[in-house]
Amino acid sequence: MSRLWQQAGMLLVLTLLLVLSAAFVPNFTKWENVKGLLLAVSLVGMISCTMLFCLAGGDFDLSVGSTVALAGVIAALVINKYGNAPLALMIPIAAGALIGSVNGFVIARIGINALITTLAMMQIVRGVAYLISNGSSIGVFDKGLTGMATWSFGGLQASVYYMIALFAAFGFLLNRTVFGRNTLAIGGNSEAARLAGLPVVRTKVLIFMLQGAVAAFAGVILAARVSSGNPDTAKGLELQVISSCVLGGVSLTGGIGTISGMIVGVLIMGVVQNSMSLLNIDAFWQLVASGVVLLAAVMLDRLKSQKA
């Protein structure tokens, strides 16, 4: 019952934000703006799916922003060399999965904490992205690759559909599969889970592998959308993703998380940023405001759970 209230609480915040924005922010309700808003949250939305698993499993992953950048760069290099779009999609995803597997192995098997492991990986991956691109963006002009991100349906761009598909897929994984249930149990109490015979290491490695693969997929789609693989892109993205999850009621210490909550969190973040842009608020202030929203939301959450 308290969990229902918890989720309803954030839903309430989102509703309030939507009403206020609709009333006071010019053009907020225009279809053009709604499309833009959904497109803007798609990158964070996609990666939040797997970050939810990471957090619910009791870890987190700071390397996703770097993985996005590296995947874009690899995709650009592959497409320019071989001209094969499926290859330019699959190779970065494989690289992402590899990065994630290493994270997962080091964290779950060797037992180094997630903060240090993924912080190190964030720097390594970013460095590699600079190295293989010589530090500058690489243009992507192949129609096969850009076409993956530029198609649209009913006015909404491809990325939005990818995000929705991932929401559905990971919602199913979390709620309806042994893997999803095990993730929550391991995050809630990994020692109890281990003694109950759950494959703790295997589950964690799989979580991080999926995380890397999804971040890489998002990175390829981003590069295809903006026609360039940029080693500088998506800096600080990991924090936006984690913020969205936490806003959506995902516990930072593991064991609690729902897809619906996470989606609400992603939308809250998106609406706040969108409204501020429409109001022509300075980008630096937007940064400050995002932080304040996160703090306020988390404190509200804390207050509620103390009462419950």
Binding site: T177, R181, A193, L198
Partner: protein
């Protein structure tokens, strides 16, 4: 009276831990607090020390109503509680621990020399030869307990409560502790003393209060002429026989055969056999290696060796997963840390292990089976929970334990390893868990039960194994076992005691 409890009440989700508890404690006296596990003694101490807050009632100290928000606040007001689990920082020195939170300091700088000198003084008062510069992590358990007492002295506490202080001490250390307590009494301190050991109570205590099921049963202002039997009767509220409700049963072939088992905390390779339908109790003092033995049998820790057979078939020696697959299940000692996933629901906790066997292709869960299995276990074990969706952390200890048992009932269990199955569980639930053990044994499951409570081991087991210092040292048949004989076997002897 300088310390008085007035109508104290405290409720946890699903359990009424304390209800209308009132009694007074005089200064310069040692007041015993007795009762079974789950009677509310620890809860009362935690309320006194500020770790919990009472839902109702008040504590009167020196004529004033006090309520401490935190243990630190209680300490500052002169109330120190020394718990079974000690609250020391292992990486810091004895001197630093003694004055933790109130170092002699000037302008934020710790006065090292004064700290050390005052530490030496405190250690002198305890009368134990402890090096003040030694890291607490390197001390023996008994020495750490002395440091904990020293902490209370360093605060100049007026009220000192001991929660089962002797459970980890050797006979010589117990004597030393009693001397310290006598000394504190002569200084006019108010001393509360929680223990299960009747002999100790009669040696050191002046007065005694009995709690049962969270209620105040009786306070004896003096122990003169009071018979131990009377106290026990007050504690259990019935004759002792029917707590355990033991019933004999036939035993089958050897179902569990473990040979040369090694593991962390075991002094030498151990053998143990259990027949189908047999309940084997393992008794030992704290630190004897009981939990370590069970963990090694279950492969619950890395570094275990030896050979295990289930009904003659060798078990792949690997991880808990392999043990479960072979039909070996463990209910761990520390329910909260090792048994339950507190945040998740009763349903999830029940199906934690078995769900993959019922999932489509081992991947997609069968929601209908999960619900019906969880409901079946909840009904069968009479788990008191508002719904299957209730987070298990909000249930009482007894109901949590039932869910863990239920988890194994939905698997094909041949051997059940129970580590302190009724610890922290109220009397009624305790009986239910015992009944469940008998019922399982009657279906041919072999059970190994570890307990630190001698009456429980004697009351439930068909055969008793005694552990001492990392090895099994004796085997006693139910008919031949008595508290005195089993305890004597468990106590360290001769050069071992050193």
């Amino acid at each position: 009276m300088p310390l008085e409890f007035r109508a104290i009440g405290k409720e946890f989700p699903g359990v009424r831990a304390l209800e209308d508890v009132s009694f007074a404690v005089g200064e310069g006296s040692v007041h015993a607090l007795m009762g079974e596990n789950g009677a509310g003694k620890s809860t009362l101490l935690k309320i006194l020390s500020g770790a919990y807050r009472a839902d109702s009632g008040e504590i009167i100290l020196n004529g004033q109503s006090v309520s401490f928000a935190t243990p630190v606040a209680a300490l500052e007001a002169g109330v120190a509680v020394i718990y079974q689990e000690l609250h020391l920082v292992p990486e810091m020195t004895v001197a630093e621990n003694l004055f933790l939170g109130h170092y002699p300091a000037a302008g934020g700088w710790i006065k090292r020399a004064e700290l050390r000198q005052r530490a030496v003084e405190i250690i002198g008062r305890i009368g134990e030869a402890i090096d003040p510069d030694m890291k607490v992590g390197n001390l023996s358990l008994a020495q750490r307990q002395m440091v904990e007492i020293g902490k209370a002295l360093s605060r100049n506490a007026q009220v000192i409560a001991f929660d089962e202080p002797t459970s980890a001490l050797s006979a010589r250390e117990v004597e030393r502790l009693f001397e310290i307590i006598a000394d504190l009494r002569s200084q006019g301190k108010i001393i509360l003393y929680v223990s299960h050991r009747m002999d100790e109570i009669f040696r050191v205590c002046d007065a005694l209060t009995v709690l049962r099921d969270g209620r105040h049963i009786e306070t004896f202002k003096s122990l003169e002429g009071v018979l131990p039997g009377v106290i026990v009767e007050r504690m259990v509220g019935r004759t002792i026989d029917d707590i355990w409700g033991y019933r004999p049963r036939a035993h089958g072939e050897v179902v569990f055969n473990a040979q040369r088992i090694t593991g962390p905390g075991l002094a030498e390779p151990q053998d143990i056999q259990v027949r189908a339908g047999e309940i084997v109790g393992i008794f030992g003092l704290v630190g004897a290696g009981r939990t370590e033995l069970l963990k090694a049998l279950y492969r619950g820790v890395p570094g275990c060796g030896g050979r295990i057979e289930i009904a003659g078939t060798p078990v792949r020696a690997g991880q808990p997963r392999d043990s479960i697959a072979a039909g070996i299940a463990l209910c761990p000692e520390d329910r909260k840390k090792e048994g339950i996933v507190g945040l998740r629901s009763v349903l999830e906790n029940t199906n934690l292990s078995a769900r993959r066997n019922h999932a489509l292709a081992g991947v997609v869960i069968d929601e209908r089976w999960e619900r019906s299995n969880a409901q079946a276990q909840v009904d069968k074990l009479r788990v008191r929970t508002p719904s299957l969706q209730q987070p298990i952390g909000l249930l009482s200890g007894g109901n949590q334990q039932k869910v863990i048992l239920g988890r194994w009932l939905s698997e094909d269990v041949r051997v059940l390893l129970l580590d302190e199955p009724t610890r922290g569980i109220d009397v009624g639930a305790k009986r239910e868990i015992c009944e469940l053990m008998y019922a399982l044994a009657e279906t041919g499951v072999g059970i190994i039960m570890v307990s630190s409570e001698l009456p429980e081991v004697l009351g439930v087991s068909d055969r008793i194994l005694v552990m001492r210092q990392g090895k099994l040292v004796a085997e006693v048949r139910r008919e031949e076992a008595s508290e005195a004989s089993v305890l004597a076997l468990a106590l360290p002897v001769g050069e071992e005691a050193a």
